[in-house]
């Protein structure tokens, strides 16, 4: 009954997905949704922190910020005016693995929104004045990271885990790198990476496939293909021994972050790790919340996470706590990790975890922009948009033995522990 139910959910969401790869390598994915008048356009570009040399850490982020700050046709102010006049949203972002331009509008404004999207992707002019402005804003944002205890802990975690690997530095860059970007560098970076074979466009809304395909054909499909870029293999990140690093900071709370390297998103261990992550840190039913918060009041904020990454990812357990409880917390965490490696998860608990994941899947696919995002994201992650459709089914197949084996595979080795201590 459970399997039938999950297929039904999936059928509701996945009905009629169209995909086309144009001769210049551009990928277009479309899904018609007649239930409302909102159109979500997501454009993914295969560039991000992971493609930046370390001396250029943050260049994708800055380029992305500047796309809407002036093109051949429009100034920054004009772009804002167009977007605001149609009551739409046009936003840019980037992360470790990819960059993204999102536009959300009503159906009647699709043409205008699409033309603007094409303009900002293909014709940014990077005005010097805007570069300087955004540079200063970015530098201020980098400094502000130090105000949030989770961000501080996570930045230290990544630095220590990844060392020479691109993931060691945050996508926003560092003060050293962002200070130095020249206009020429930004222009060249854009020219090199913003090419059609590195782009995936996803459109979800009440528009026909014919209309969408035609619109893209007239614009993006005529862009010349870029040069084949060879990405150097990423450095290995083995943890040859367990490391603990303590950082005194001006916070009232202490913070504990413990983790280890694990498989990337395209790996066959992925779904099992996701189930394991939910078992430990999912909602208020996760083992960490129940044991460490409900039972022992060790924390207010406690969970685990396993980000989906193109390159080696990490499994992290974290909590904000009183500085005097650090040892107790470490003990309890080790107990949980040991339990995973020695005890098979009971059928009942496993079923509940899976149901939670499937329910979350449904909730997280509610809005058009969410659906568009997931379809494109899986293309970028290397598993293809079809994986979004298959994902609930794959989750159902994970067994208790799978979890035990994965726990033994990754958690018996070494850990990195980051501790933020309140300064005396």
């Amino acid at each position: 009954m459970a399997i039938v139910l999950s297929s039904f959910f999936v059928a509701e969401i996945q009905a009629g997905i169209n995909k086309h790869v144009f001769p210049n390598g551009l990928t277009l994915i479309h899904k018609r949704n007649k239930s409302n008048q909102i159109v979500a356009l997501e454009l993914f570009i295969k560039t991000g922190r992971i493609y930046e040399p370390n001396e250029q850490a943050g260049i994708t982020h800055l380029v992305q910020t500047l796309l809407t700050k002036g093109t051949k046709k429009y100034t920054a102010s004009e772009i804002a005016e167009i977007v605001e006049s149609i009551g739409g949203i046009l936003s840019t972002g980037s992360n470790e693995d990819f960059a993204q331009v999102s536009s959300v509008v009503t159906v009647r404004h699709f043409n205008l929104a699409f033309d603007l999207l094409f303009e900002v992707i293909t014709n940014p002019v990077f005005p010097e004045k805007e570069i300087e402005k955004e540079r200063q804003v970015t530098l201020a944002a980098i400094k502000s990271r130090e105000e949030d205890i989770f961000t501080v802990a996570y930045d230290y975690f990544n630095q220590n885990l990844y060392r020479n690997h691109p993931y060691a530095l945050p996508p926003i860059g560092t003060e050293e790198t962002v200070k130095k970007f020249t206009r020429e560098e930004l222009v060249n970076y854009h020219r090199k990476f913003y090419t059609p074979e590195r782009m995936v466009i996803v459109i979800v809304g009440n528009l026909s496939w014919g209309k969408v395909k035609k619109t893209v054909e007239k614009t993006f499909a005529s862009l010349p293909k870029g040069e084949e870029l060879v990405t150097a293999p990423f450095p290995e990140i083995p943890l040859s021994q367990s490391i603990e690093k303590i950082y005194p900071q001006k916070f009232k709370q202490a913070y504990l972050m413990l983790g280890c390297p694990v498989a990337e998103g395209s790996h066959s261990d992925y779904a099992i790790l996701k189930v394991l992550n939910t078992l430990l840190g999912g909602g208020m039913r996760g083992r960490l919340f129940r044991e460490l918060r409900d039972k022992h009041s060790l924390a207010y904020e406690i969970s685990s996470f396993y980000p989906t990454r193109k390159s080696t990812s990490h499994f992290v357990i974290y909590l904000g706590l009183d500085g005097t409880k650090l040892n107790q917390a470490k003990e309890k965490i080790q107990e949980q990790l040991k339990r995973l490696q020695t005890e098979l998860v009971e059928e009942k608990e496993l079923e509940e975890v899976k149901k939670f994941l499937r329910g979350n899947y449904l909730i997280e696919h509610s809005a058009n922009r969410d659906q568009a995002w997931y379809l494109g994201w899986w293309e970028l992650m290397g598993k293809g948009y079809e994986y979004d459709e298959e994902y609930p089914q794959i989750l159902s197949q994970v067994t208790a033995e799978d979890i035990l084996n994965i726990a033994k595979k990754y958690f018996t080795k070494n850990y990195l522990t980051i501790i933020i201590q309140p300064e005396k």
Binding site: Y74, E84, G87, I89, R293, Y300, E301, F356, A367
Partner: protein
Amino acid sequence: MHTNKRGVGLYLFLTLFFPFTTLQANALKVKKVYLSNGLLVLLKEDHALPLVSLQAWIKVGSAYETEINNGVSHFLEHMLFKKTKKYDIGEIARVIESQGGRINAGTGKDATVFYINIPKEALDTALEIVAEVIQNATFPEEEIERERLVILEEIKRHEDNPEAILWDAFNQKIYPTIPYRFRIIGNEETIQRMSRERLIEHYRNYYVANNITLVIVGDISVKKLLPQLEKIFEPLPKKGPLRIPILLENRKQSFFVQEKKSVQQAYFIAGFLGPTVENDDQYALDLLATILGQGRNSRLYKKLREEKELVWSISASLLTQKGSGIFLISGEAAAEKVSQAMEEIYQGLLNVQKNGINEKELARAKILIESGWLFGNETYSGKAYTLGYGTTLKNIDYAQKYLKNISRVQVQDIKRVFDTYFQGEKPNAIIFYPE
């Protein structure tokens, strides 16, 4: 795009605005029913997705507290997930989440909300749990002790966030006499002495049928649900009359505070008292806040961030509450630029007082508010939230008529309304400077 730009731009704004209102007409239509015990239920059927969003809105929050029990509403919210007559500790979360749902709650000043988003098959369970939570929590002493420690930790987390404590400080100063000056989370002293008796008293006083709105949006059948609801919620007692706190701040403050904090940039909030939710002045001020500080083409953003580069970020908004609201402008700036930024903000307000705003700005602001509404209400939970919050703050019509009221505001209304709240003095402000 440079020829006739102004004309085309204005035309664009005016013609494109009106269709929004028709799109929104049905978005928040609901069936409204009072159960026999006075519980208000709002139901909306939508079969696009096999999901249901279920929210229970209780008219209680820090506005209903005193300096003795400050933090009780929030503490109570924590406790209701713990143990009830039917469900053991941790069971509620486990049951909802294992059915594929999400459950959480939030406490504000005027309202507390419990919400569940869940696949439609689990609606019965979700309803049962909501009924349990609002009626049958048992408050075991041991769990109170446990949760006390958790909340003390939450307070520390809160106090490590400069924007959060800036907001606390501003509220403390702008509301010298009314309960809006209290922190929602309470403080270490009040939380340390929070007793089981206090929690239960608060529960019995406010978690009653005539003080709650239940909102259900999604793949439901209103016909089937109504008798079911009557049955499930029938035992919930009503109580009356409920204590209504005084929430109109009559003592107008004038303050300008600068404090050194452990921050990397300067943070600022400037503002003054605004209308209550009962006052129709709010619509003009919502629009003015949008004109001044929402979006990249707003006045303050353009002047302070883009032109003069005095701030890293800036925004303006109207906080509408049951009682006196706040018209505020907030943002982040480099330490050496913030005082100049404050001066520019002041000039910006004087400019509105003297010259008002223009048609194009007003049209743009209406579109922004409309589209924000549209996107915010795309999901079932978004719709439920808008309906629940609006009803708790005022009444069911409030959310449904909001956009119509926005569309009615004219250019001259803005200047006229603004005069009631701003008479040319420097706005109150608190600034946090890096050490």
